[in-house]
Every structure is written in C-alpha cells, then in structure tokens.
C-alpha cells in the first residue's frame, strides 16, 4: 500500500509541475475557452490540461516500470496491457487535442472515438462476459466488441459532458479512480489498481489548478482521456473478475457522469416528444437525435440555477459521486448479496434527487425559475418596475457601486417580459403595482428573489407586510439597503447549501446501517 501511495504522490507531483507549463503553451497558442453560449465561466481560460494529465500518467508509469526493472521484479506491471491502454489513450488524446485546437464537428469526433475504441477492442481489451444480478454470468460472444465500444465511447463522452464547471470532471475522475483503486486492491488485481492510482495522482495534481477559480481547463483532450482511461481500466479489471464482480460495480463507480448523460438523453427526448401538439409526437418520437443536442440543463447547471456557487455545486456533486462510489465498493465487498436492497435504495435516492433538481417539471416550465448569483458576485441583476423613473434615480448609483445592473420596466407586462428566462437577485416594485396579476404571478414563480417596495415620498407600503425592504429615498439610503439585500441573499444561499450537504450526508446512514447488519449476520 505504501508503494501505491508513493506512486500517487509521484504522479501528483508530475501533474503539479507540468500543468503550469502546459498552461503557458496553451496561452501562447491561443487555445482558450471564451465565455458565452453554454459556458458559465466569466474569463477566457486556457484549455489544454489533458496534456498535463497524460504526460504525468505516462511519466509515472515509466517510473514504475524502471522501479520494477531495477529494484522490485515482483511488482505487478503488465507491459502488454499498459501498451494497449496507452495506444488508445494516445489516440483519444490526439482527437481531443485536435478538437481543442481547431474544433471538430460532433459527428467526426464521435467517429474518431469509435475508431479508437475499435482498435482497443481489436487488441483484446474487451468486455467478454458480464454478470448481471439476478441473471448470472452472460457470455457476450460477438457482442463483446460493440459492448466495449459503447462503454468506452460512452464514458469518454460522459466525462466530456460533465466538464462544465471548474473541477467537476477532474474531481469526479479522482473520486472514481480512487474507489476503483480500492476495489481492484480488494479483488487482488494489483496490475489494474496501478492504473487507477496513477490516474488518481495525476488528477489530484491537476485539480490544484482546475479547482474554482480555474486557471486551466481540462479541455476535450483531458476529459476524453480521463473518461477513456477509467473506462478501459475498468474493462481490464472486469476481464478476469467478472465472475465475482457484477457489471453494476463499474457503472456505479462511474455513476455520476453516467447519470448525467442518461438524464440528458431522457430529458431532451421526452421534452421533444411531449412538446409537440396534436399528433406530431409520432414524428417527433422518431427524431432520436434531439437527445444529442446540447443544452444548459446538466445537473451542474441545475445546481447553479438553484443558486449555488461553482464551489458549492461541485462539493454537492463530489459528495454524490462519493456516495455512488462507496455503494460500488460495498457491492464488491458483499459479493452481490443484498444487492436488491442497495438497488432499491439507490433508486429511491436517485428519484428524490431528480425531483429535487426539478427535472420533472412540465415541458415549457420557466427554467430560470430560481435566482442565480446569490453569492457576492459582480454582475447580478436587479429588476425594477419604474414608471416614473425615480427608482432608477434612487437606486442606479448604489447598484452600480456593487457592480449590479439595474433593469427597469415601464409597466407590469414589460416587467414580466424582462423577467422571463432571466435570473435576478431582487425586484423593486412600487406598492401601488404590487397587487397586479403580472407582479403576483412573477412573485410566486420566483420565491427566491428578494422583493423590495419602492414607495413614492409620503406613500404607504400598504398591505405588503411580507415585502423584504423599502428602497430608500436617496442614493445613500439605497446603498445601505443593498448591503442588507446582499447579506440576506448570502445567508439564504448558505442555508440552502448546507441543507443540500445535510441531505447528501443523511443518505449514507441507511447504507451504513445495512452494512453493519449484514456484517453482524455474517459473524453470527
């Protein structure tokens, strides 16, 4: 075990030293990710980090090889297996590099990935038999090749897809590879454990630069390489252990990216079909490719939409990934006993999570329902219903001081239009408009926004006792009030964050209880 820890440290050191260098190359070559579109970051960031991970992986493996040759001939390192892994790994990295440099059309990229996966399957890295709980051992025969290709391409793309916010893809890969390492050690598959530990180390070293605020992104090169390596290493792990390890173990260990892809495909397809009026849904249901059209509704987008900051969203997803990973480990340790209990529990937790994230909302529901940018972010937006133009006068300067933009509407209908699809921190409404249907509907649809009253001089606030605060009569009073708005916003945000963490921790308890009970049965 000490040896493996040292290998991980070595890999992390390599990645830690190489990443700034790769970053410089990317900066000089203009390999940048610019903000805009589906991107949620605010500054252009170099995207070439995969190269650093790849190099760290390769150098560490080389170090292990030398170590075995010179000092410890019994150390498990399978040159053939490793060459196979890296042959495809280099291939997929090159596909990613090309995509990072010049961009590739989705179809071409997918074709190249399939080609790489075919090569890997061709040299003998295949899922030949799988154990399905309740069914038993299944020989795949000819289907081994399509199954392997689907698995490799699927996982590589899943990591590519979740690479949407700082540190998510790399952190998920770190958790998945650590768990897979522990599982491989448990099963005595030391030669496979080596790949996982090297990968975990490289990702850890890289994560220091990729964690929010990110100095460098993984890019396609990185996310494809991470996904590919995890997929192929788990195939290698399954190859001789598939009699004891069910197919669910790697699926759970890589559960988070898989869940995101599955949700994306189902969500887009269902939306496209249900969104049709009359009998057009028959035709719509044949348009299966809608499932691959990009959108801004991945799990991490949802968490940001609920009001989490990048870090908070990433923490929640790390916890969820860790939960799935521990389930995978338990499944191995219990050798598929009690699998039904674990699966039913997992199903319940997933269903609750999907509901909580709002994926079940009806088609066409307002997607930006909850307020974004609660944290002390610049460029938060405030809306104001401002027919007389005096709110802008009172608030404008104070809002500008905070870097918030103030968007004013002349009448309630315009306000509703402006609010559609926009995330805002607070909305300012003169009391005499507070009872209009537009404002009422808007208030009930955005419970997380702060609602401020802006009475004209001498006007009473009236029946609006539940409104948060009153906009001051001059710029100074407004400044003080905005400070309070920000405090309350930050407090509510922290509350929601810890509520999320609380639930994500609570879901562990039944599993721990279950494990303790089954362990005590075994002893008894």
């Amino acid at each position: 075990m000490t040896q493996y820890m040292l290998i991980a440290v070595l890999a992390a050191t390599f990645a830690w030293c190489l990443t700034p260098w790769v970053r410089r190359v990317a900066l000089a070559s203009g390999i940048l990710d610019y903000p805009g579109g589906r991107k949620v970051h605010l500054v252009s960031t170099p995207r070439f980090g995969g190269v650093a991970i790849y190099l760290a992986f390769l150098l560490t493996a080389l170090g292990v090889y030398w170590y075995r040759e010179l000092a410890a001939p019994s150390f498990p390192f399978d040159v053939v297996q490793f060459s196979g892994l890296m042959l495809g790994g280099t291939g997929i990295l090159l596909v990613g590099i090309y995509d990072d440099l010049f961009g590739l059309r989705a179809g071409v990229k997918l074709g190249l990935e399939v080609l790489v996966a075919l090569i890997v399957a061709g040299i003998g890295i295949r899922i030949e038999t799988i154990t399905i709980p309740g069914v038993g051992l299944v020989e795949l025969g000819f289907w081994a090749i399509p199954a392997t290709v689907l698995w490799i391409v699927g996982i590589a793309n899943a990591f590519n897809l979740i690479d949407g916010i700082d540190g998510l893809s790399a952190g998920t890969a770190l958790i998945a590879s650590t768990i897979s390492f522990l599982i491989a050690i448990y099963l005595g598959r030391t030669e496979v454990a080596l790949y996982f530990v090297v990968l975990a180390g490289s990702t850890l070293g890289f994560l220091r630069y990729n964690y929010n605020p990110a100095q460098v992104f993984l890019g396609d090169s990185g996310s494809l390489f991470l996904g590919y390596t995890l997929a192929v290493a788990s195939v290698l792990g399954l190859q001789k252990s598939s009699t004891i390890v069910s197919i669910l173990v790697p699926v759970l260990a890589l559960g988070l990216p898989i869940a995101d892809v599955a949700l994306a495909v189902i969500r887009r397809y269902v939306r496209a079909v249900l969104g049709q009026k009359g009998r057009d849904w028959v035709r719509a249901s044949l348009r299966f490719w809608v499932a691959f059209e990009p959108d801004k509704e991945h799990i991490h987008h949802r968490l940001l939409g609920i009001g989490f900051s990048h870090r908070q969203a990433v923490h929640c997803l790390y916890l969820a990934g860790l939960f799935l990973g521990v389930l995978a480990y338990l499944m191995t340790a219990l050798q598929n006993r009690g699998i039904a209990v674990i699966l039913i529990y997992l199903g319940i937790v997933t269903a609750l999570g999907v509901r909580k994230l709002g994926f079940l909302r009806p088609v066409g529901a307002d997607l930006g329902r909850r307020t974004m940018s609660w944290k002390r972010l610049p460029n938060a937006t405030m809306l104001a219903l401002d027919p007389a133009g005096d709110v802008a006068r009172r608030l404008g300067e104070a809002a500008a001081d905070r870097g918030w933009s103030l968007v004013c509407a002349k009448d309630p209908r315009e306000l509703a239009e402006l609010a559609g699809g926009r995330n805002f921190v607070a909305c300012v409404v003169p009391p005499r408009y507070s009872e209009t249907p537009e404002v009422g509907a808007l208030r009930s649809s955005r419970p997380y926004a702060l609602w401020l009253a802006a009475p004209a001089e001498g006007e009473a606030i009236g029946s609006n006792g539940d409104w948060f605060d009153v906009v001051g009569t001059d710029a100074n009073a407004s400044r003080a009030m905005l400070g309070r708005v920000e405090e309350v916003a930050a407090l509510r945000n922290r509350l929601r964050y810890f509520k999320g963490l609380f639930w994500l921790t609570l879901i562990w308890i039944p599993i721990i209880v279950f494990f303790l009970i089954s362990a005590s049965f075994e002893r008894g």
């Binding site: 190359v25 000089a28 070559s29 203009g30 390999i31 190269v51 390769l58 040159v79 053939v80 060459s83 196979g84 890296m86 042959l87 280099t90 291939g91 990295l93 090159l94 590099i97 090309y98 440099l101 010049f102 040299i123 003998g124």
Partner: protein
C-alpha cells in the same frame, strides 16, 4: 509569431510526438506477441 502559426506548431508537435508514442506502444504490443504470433 501569430496565434495561427503557433496553433499549427502545437498541432504538428503534439501529433508527431503522439504518433510516435502510438507507434512505440504498437511496437511493444507486437514485440510481446499481443497482436501477431500468439
């Protein structure tokens, strides 16, 4: 040097090195009898 030329330089360097590495791993596989001669 312009960004465009630098991009192309990065491309050629990484694809040459990557291609050589792939050939090397292929060579290792062949040498160990993983592809032909089992």
């Amino acid at each position: 040097m312009g960004i465009r030329a630098r991009k192309q330089l990065t491309f050629y360097v990484s694809f040459t090195v990557g291609g050589l590495l792939m050939l090397f791993f292929l060579f290792l596989l062949v040498l160990n009898g993983a592809i032909w001669g089992r």
